[in-house]
């Protein structure tokens, strides 16, 4: 069987730590297929980046030296030529802002199946993945022929690794500059205002269940009474009810409080990604099937408009 090809993720010279979980997923699949695991690194100083991910289980690291900033046109061209050269059994990438930006195009161009956001990968007599649908309330087990392109959810596979001695092979590919129609100009970080939720030890976090901007008053008075900082899920920020620096999650801030109180938050994957390092998670939600309960230590199934006023009384 031909190798598994894993595309390492990095930004501005730093390996995305979630790449290690991706490498684990790729190595596991290569073992199931009884084949080699190869990695590709596309970027500036790729040989240097290759040292950081030269782990046990990787056979070869293909490097391609290009600009510091990510460019999906260069990724698609480079990975397509590598695909034609080593004919991998499958390609794995993270299901991130980077992976979802080039993998679907790659799948179309190479005309292979695309299996997005895998939370499990298996191969016995065919390739199978698990994919969550309907706001994580349903799982679909999907199968496809090889080779396929799989985007892998970050934070699911273990990240422990041992040093390895993969051979590092620079790729000799010429890029068609005329086909580069996308250019990164700059990066910007969300400025942090007067509160920094990432350092808060008690967070009272509000989601769409609050219904209306006026109801935030209830959240703020409860937070004040118990000495908590107010944070939120994304829709509250999208609606302009709270500033972006209060948003918890994948595209917001990752938090690590002693207590995270989730009020009317369903627990979408992108939200959970930001709260995993909380010591204790307490959730209040009227939907007993809300996925937030799968991440919580304590749960209250009920109406927040009945429970919060009572909670406020407890701290008066």
């Amino acid at each position: 069987m031909s190798p598994i090809l894993i595309i390492a993720e990095h930004r501005q010279g730093i390996i995305n730590p979630d790449t290690f979980g991706l490498l684990t997923a790729g190595i596991e699949l290569s073992t199931a297929l009884d084949t080699e695991a190869h990695v590709a690194i596309i970027g500036k100083d790729p040989e240097k980046l290759a040292q950081d991910i030269n782990i046990d289980g990787i056979h070869t690291i293909h490097t391609f030296s290009t600009s510091l900033t990510y460019n999906h046109d260069i990724y698609v061209q480079t990975i397509s030529s590598l695909f034609n050269k080593i004919k991998p059994s499958s390609i794995l990438s993270l299901h991130t802002s980077t992976g979802t930006d080039y993998c679907p195009a790659l799948a179309s161009i190479l005309d292979v199946p695309l299996l997005p956001d895998a939370i499990a990968i298996n191969y016995t007599d065919q390739l199978e993945i698990l994919h969550e649908m309907y706001s994580s309330k349903l799982q679909a087990k999907l199968a496809s022929p090889l080779p396929a392109i799989i985007t892998v959810r970050a934070g699911v596979w273990p990240t422990e690794t041992a040093p390895g001695n993969a051979s590092i092979e620079p790729l000799n590919i010429s890029i068609n500059e005329d086909a580069i129609n996308f250019k990164v100009k700059d990066y910007e970080e969300t400025p942090i205002g007067d509160v920094d939720i990432s350092t808060s030890d008690l967070l009272l976090s509000v989601g769409r269940g609050i219904g209306d901007e006026a109801n935030l008053e209830l959240i703020f008075s409860t937070a004040e009474a118990m000495g908590a900082t107010v944070s939120s899920s994304r829709p509250i920020v999208d609606a302009g009810w709270l500033p972006k620096d209060r948003q918890v999650g994948q595209s917001g801030t990752k938090v690590s409080p002693s207590i995270y109180l989730a009020i009317g938050i369903s627990g979408a994957v992108q939200h959970i990604a930001g709260i995993k390092n909380s010591k204790v998670i307490i959730s209040i939600n009227k939907d007993p099937k809300a996925p937030i309960f799968d991440a919580s230590d304590y749960g209250v199934v009920g109406d927040l408009f009945e429970i919060l006023p009572a909670l406020l009384e407890e701290f008066r």
Partner: protein, 262 residues
Amino acid sequence: MRILVAITEVATPDDTIEFSDKSITESNFTYGLNEWDEYAIEEAIQISESTANSDVISVTIAPPRAEKTIRMALAKGVTKAIRVWDPQLESLPFVDPRLKAKILAKVVSTISPDIILTGVQSSNDCWGSTGVALAAEVGFNWATLVTDLELSGDVAHVRRELENGVDELAEVTLPAVFTIQTGINEPRYASLRGIKQAQQKELETLSFSDLSTDPEEFQSNINLIEFSLPTSDNTIQYFEGTPKEQAAQVATIIKDLGFGGG
């Protein structure tokens, strides 16, 4: 400028899902427009309002049921809507992103848009991949996770939202597909006048034979083995009782951990 916006209908998140191994029971769902598409439609309408000679055409792959949702898009200001459906799709548990892209690509070739907007993902399928697959299928450029979009000449300046509060500022040459992230704008509500006008607007329906002489090309290369409920090895303690009793138990935990003056 001609803007195509690819939109989809979804069951709302707090719907209870009934399913068998291979299919979802849809009868108990409440349907609405996919959240991300609300923003894509608004962005398309705003661009059309500020650009002379523009129209916004929406396209949706969905059974007739979705027409009510599509009319809402027309009521908000979409000029014309297209709905694609085919008996071949009835038997599929879902439409995978590459198949969606292949179907949408045929519509693109008949209406020749200058730009295409989609939502970042649909909350039911959670593929997060259709926009980029479509771009590659039709040979357009693309930008994903867009939270700001400025067109100038044949270039678009975009803000892309990455992880951990980092934004990327990028430039892409038109024609292009943009996948729109929530929060980019403030989606409007349909006016009463808009809702009335929507009844008169064109909602064209197309089947595979309208799109291709070889409907066999619309095959999925992904098979569903089975649906199942998510499993969890999480242990959780639920607080029971009246709201007051539940609140008291929550307060005890908080105070025991040294907060709230406990």
